[in-house]
């Protein structure tokens, strides 16, 4: 299959690889500018309180302190990515009158070094009037609960309904019905590079911000709005980024506070969040109360599903409104439900705000969904894989009113996983394999950000020596999009990967682009890059036609630096010569190709879908309740694979993050205070915990994607928790419905089960 292509489909070392393995990559964390100050942020110790006064006079007198800003130094604008809906822009970032969670910012200090800035925080006197607080969303939505935002009655932040068919009537026709309640836990993104920024506001009125972000463009626009600047006067540069996972595409306190301080002091200010701030203030995965009712016919045909979700929103909207919708959408996937209804409520609480974490509301939906499918399969005595296969979406299926699916390799994925399970044969006692499957978007069709620009755009510039500059607004946070896009560019243009230089880091250079989230880069940016490369290539071919003078029925193409007649490849001219001639023919102008992509008429959610089926094998110790991961095998459909080594990295990385969330990661709280805000106390999977992982790519072609490619990687956070819960059930017969699946819960349920047996 790969022979068709010269560049894509073969593993390539990433374009930033050498810088990263030699340690020469310079992150925001490493940056130092001349005359730079260091900033620290003062944060609320109360979950809910009025700010009566902020007195900075003692701190200002401290030697080394150069400036302090409070809410009074801001314009009082409220930030939020949902710019089409002003009431959802609800975060001041530096609070003026009220704090809403432990960690809300109230002031920021700039000093000659971090130590001085930190010490100065202690000298800022804030007088608070504590207010009654609410931490649980079910409590928060009761009449009479403490009101967190004036505009939100019963603290209800957003509601979403998705519905088709007639669910109530359909349940009457079902042979079997299951009703279950689940609860999903919080999870920290735990980017190895904490959020940080260096802001430099110059005397020319221009603000430059270097920051570890998933979207230069979002930060540019949001900062401009919050600071009252024109977008063109804000330049955002992304150095290599130490991870994002959904936590770095909103404007954060480091970026905002550093900018406000720099604007006031006219000196560069660097703020790097501490690990504790990273755990407590940079958003987190959304915990959910999840009610589900499913009904099926005796033969396993799924008829109706009803889902009601109440999510813990925390203090602000953030990306939570999108997550609430996506939880609703993914709760129907990847099955053909003729009747479906979802009601989602996102409720403000006095806890750290919740938002997107790799999967964007999908992992929660699939944990419950894939658990309940296994339960109903058992009720019906149908094999779990068979019930999935029987009801799964297929190519050209329309999810009523929501989405249209073109390519879909689920069927091949089932075959691969079935083969794997058969090969494993009979398992020893306390061992179990559980499965889960999923669909995931290749970029969202949402424009709550209200951008007037295309969703993705690219510029390809061919220089006199044949070297190609690719300008894109895509944001590589380690997943490898710079390389993927360079490969797509090289393939389309018929040159080598090393001919391409990617410029993806700078809003002053690249076109506006929504950034890296929702698995949008390969498909959306890839299409824009392919179009830009094709535009540049067309200009070269115009000149090549005059040299090769083919019969009009022949056409030309470029491969391996040769421009050739497709039907007579021996007749060719050099790419390099044609580049020079084209520039001459254009009166010395550089060759520039432009491309863009915005999905049209592709439904409500995404223009294309990645799919996968995963089998998780566990070993459960009935004495301790400890679950050991043995092996995770994933059959995966991401369309045409662009860079195989990068896709495998995405599959394995997503699986680890999902397994961690299902297995051990959690953020317990006491009255709104996160109790484990350090890496020592927050348990993650380490090298010794990670089981064997196998990725099997199934071959499909997505008509909407560049060269047939689509989503890879984020979706893979979806099936793991459900598959693991199913595996534990298959191993020892206990069904864990609240994440994470800790030894305590397994042991508790094993004991309950034992008691139940004795009673019988």
């Amino acid at each position: 299959m790969s022979d068709k292509y010269a560049v894509i489909g073969k593993s390539h070392i990433k374009v930033d690889g050498h810088a990263k393995v030699t340690g020469s990559a310079k992150y925001t964390f490493d940056m130092v500018l001349p005359n730079m100050l260091y900033g620290k942020i003062l944060r609320s110790p109360y979950p809910h309180a009025k700010i009566l006064s902020v007195d900075t006079s003692r701190a200002e007198k401290m030697v080394g302190v150069k400036g302090i800003v409070t809410g009074k130094d801001t314009l009082g604008h409220k930030n939020g990515p949902w710019r089409r809906f002003p009431e959802l822009c609800d975060e001041e970032i530096i609070c003026r009158e009220k704090v809403r969670y432990i960690g809300d910012a109230v002031a920021a200090v700039a000093a000659v070094d971090e130590e001085t800035a930190e010490a100065a925080l202690d000298l800022i006197d804030v007088e608070y009037e504590p207010l009654p607080a609410v931490f649980d969303p079910l409590e928060g939505m009761k009449e009479g609960a403490p009101k967190i935002h004036e505009h939100a009655e019963r603290n209800i932040n957003v509601t979403r309904r998705i519905e088709w068919g007639d669910v109530n009537e359909a349940f009457e026709k079902c042979d079997i019905i299951r009703e279950e309640q689940f609860h999903t836990s919080s999870q920290a993104h735990l980017c190895m590079e904490t959020h940080g920024a260096v802001a430099d506001f110059g005397y020319d009125g221009k603000l430059t911000v270097w920051t570890s972000t998933q979207s230069n463009y979002f930060i540019q626009v949001l900062l401009a709005g919050m600071l009252g600047l024109r977008e063109g006067d804000v330049r955002v540069i992304k150095p290599p980024s130490g991870g994002g996972f959904g936590s770095k595409f909103e404007l954060d306190a480091a970026q905002f506070c550093a900018s406000v301080l720099s604007q006031k002091l006219r000196r560069p200010v660097k703020i790097i969040l501490t690990r504790e701030e990273e755990f407590t203030t940079t958003k987190r995965k959304t915990p959910m109360y999840y009610y589900v009712k499913v009904g099926a016919k005796k033969d396993g045909t799924l008829l109706a599903k009803e889902v009601r979700v109440v999510t813990e929103g925390g203090a602000y909207t953030a990306m939570g409104a999108t997550a609430l919708y996506l939880t609703g959408f993914y709760s129907c996937m990847p099955y053909k439900w003729p009747h479906y209804r979802y009601d989602g409520y996102r409720v403000y609480t006095n806890t750290a705000p919740t938002s997107a974490l790799r999967g964007f509301g999908a992992p929660q939906a699939y944990f419950a969904g894939e658990s309940v499918i296994d339960m109903i399969a058992e009720d019906l005595k149908i094999d779990p894989l068979e019930i999935r296969r029987k009801n799964a979406v297929t190519p050209h299926y329309e999810v009523p009113g929501q989405a249209y699916i073109q390519s879909c390799g689920l069927s091949e994925c089932y075959d691969a996983i079935e083969k794997h399970i058969k090969e494993r044969g009979k398992l020893p006692p306390q061992r179990g394999i559980g499965i889960g499957n999923y669909a995931f978007m290749s970029g969202g069709i949402f424009n709550w950000f209200n951008t007037p620009y295309a969703f993705s755009a690219a510029i390809v510039k061919i220089n006199i020596d044949g070297k190609v500059d690719l300008f894109t607004g895509a944001c590589d946070t380690g997943q490898g999009s710079d390389t993927t896009l360079a490969m797509i560019c090289a393939e389309e243009l018929g040159v080598h990967l090393k001919d391409i230089r990617v410029h993806a880091e700078d809003t002053d250079l690249g076109p506006a682009d929504l950034g890296s989230w929702g698995s949008r880069e390969t498909l959306m940016n890839g299409n824009a890059v392919k179009m830009a490369a094709a535009d540049a290539k067309r200009q070269l071919l115009e000149i090549a036609y005059t040299k090769l003078k083919p019969n009009v029925v022949y056409d030309l193409d470029i491969k391996d630096h040769k421009i050739y007649m497709v039907d007579r490849p021996e007749r060719s001219v050099s790419y390099f010569d044609v580049v020079q001639d084209t520039i001459r023919a254009k009166e010395g102008q550089t060759i520039i190709g432009r491309g863009h992509y915005t999905p049209h008429r592709k439904g409500m959610v995404s223009p294309a879908w990645g799919f996968g089926v995963q089998a998780v094998e566990v070993d459960v110790d009935p004495e301790t309740g400890k679950v050991k991961l043995i092996e995770i095998v994933t059959a995966h459909d991401c369309g045409q694979v662009i860079n195989p080594v990068a896709v495998l990295g995405q599959v394995e990385g997503a699986t680890m993050l999902a397994a961690g969330g299902a297995f051990c990661e959690d953020q317990p709280m006491d009255n709104g205070k996160i109790l484990n805000p350090s890496i020592g106390d927050y348990k993650v999977l380490r090298s010794v915990d990670m089981p064997k992982t196998v990725g099997i790519e199934v071959d499909t072609y997505e008509p909407e994607g560049p060269f047939g490619a689509k989503e890879a990687g984020e979706g893979l956070t979806s099936p793991t928790a459900g598959a693991m819960a199913n595996a534990v059930y298959n191993a020892v017969g206990v069904r864990i419905k609240d994440l994470p699946i800790t030894p305590e819960k397994v042991l508790r349920d094993l004991k309950e089960k034992e008691k139940g047996k004795k009673k019988k």
Binding site: S11, M192, E193, T477, G478, M656, S678, G680, S687, M690
Partner: protein, 159 residues
């Protein structure tokens, strides 16, 4: 009151004066400008500040700079010889054993320490050697594959 500190980093001897409570990682990053070594926590638990000190993998945030008096230290800047990468670096590239790259210098330090000490480790020994290094991107198995490739002699060190 600053104290004198002598140490060798990547073959280069240094003499400097540091405050007694300065951490080794602070000297490397702030005094010597060797920013390959990162910091990711305040509790010596993430491993991304790992360097090789007298042949041992050491978290440079967990020791005072003055404790490194006279030590020979290698950081990620010192693994390659000019443009000749160390076999582990080559293997990390080919096997995609890094993504965001922030943990990579520390990960390489832990991996290199093991292989310098024990060129034929078992898989378990390899997993244990990098157990103190958190990687949030890769899921570790690509790192194991890269290390295994070096152990199996797929990459030779250039002389």
């Amino acid at each position: 009151m600053r104290k004198e500190l002598r140490l060798t980093v990547n073959g280069q001897p240094y003499e400097l004066y540091v405050k007694p409570k300065t951490l080794l990682v602070e000297v490397l990053r702030n005094e010597l400008g060797l920013t390959a070594t990162k910091r990711g926590c305040e509790s010596s638990s993430c491993g991304i500040c790992t360097v090789i000190l007298n042949g041992m993998a050491v978290k440079s945030c967990s020791i005072l700079a003055l404790q490194a008096e006279g030590a020979e230290i290698t950081t990620a800047e010192g693994f390659a010889k000019g443009d000749q990468l160390h076999p582990l670096q080559k293997a990390f590239l080919d096997y995609g054993a890094y993504q965001c790259g922030f943990c990579t210098p520390g990960m390489l330090a832990s991996a290199k320490t093991l292989l310098d000490e024990n060129p034929k480790p078992t898989e378990e020994e390899m997993r244990e050697a990098i157990d103190g290094n958190i990687c949030r991107c890769t899921g570790y198995n690509s790192i194991l594959r890269a290390m295994t490739a070096v152990v199996n002699g797929e990459y030779k060190e250039e002389k």
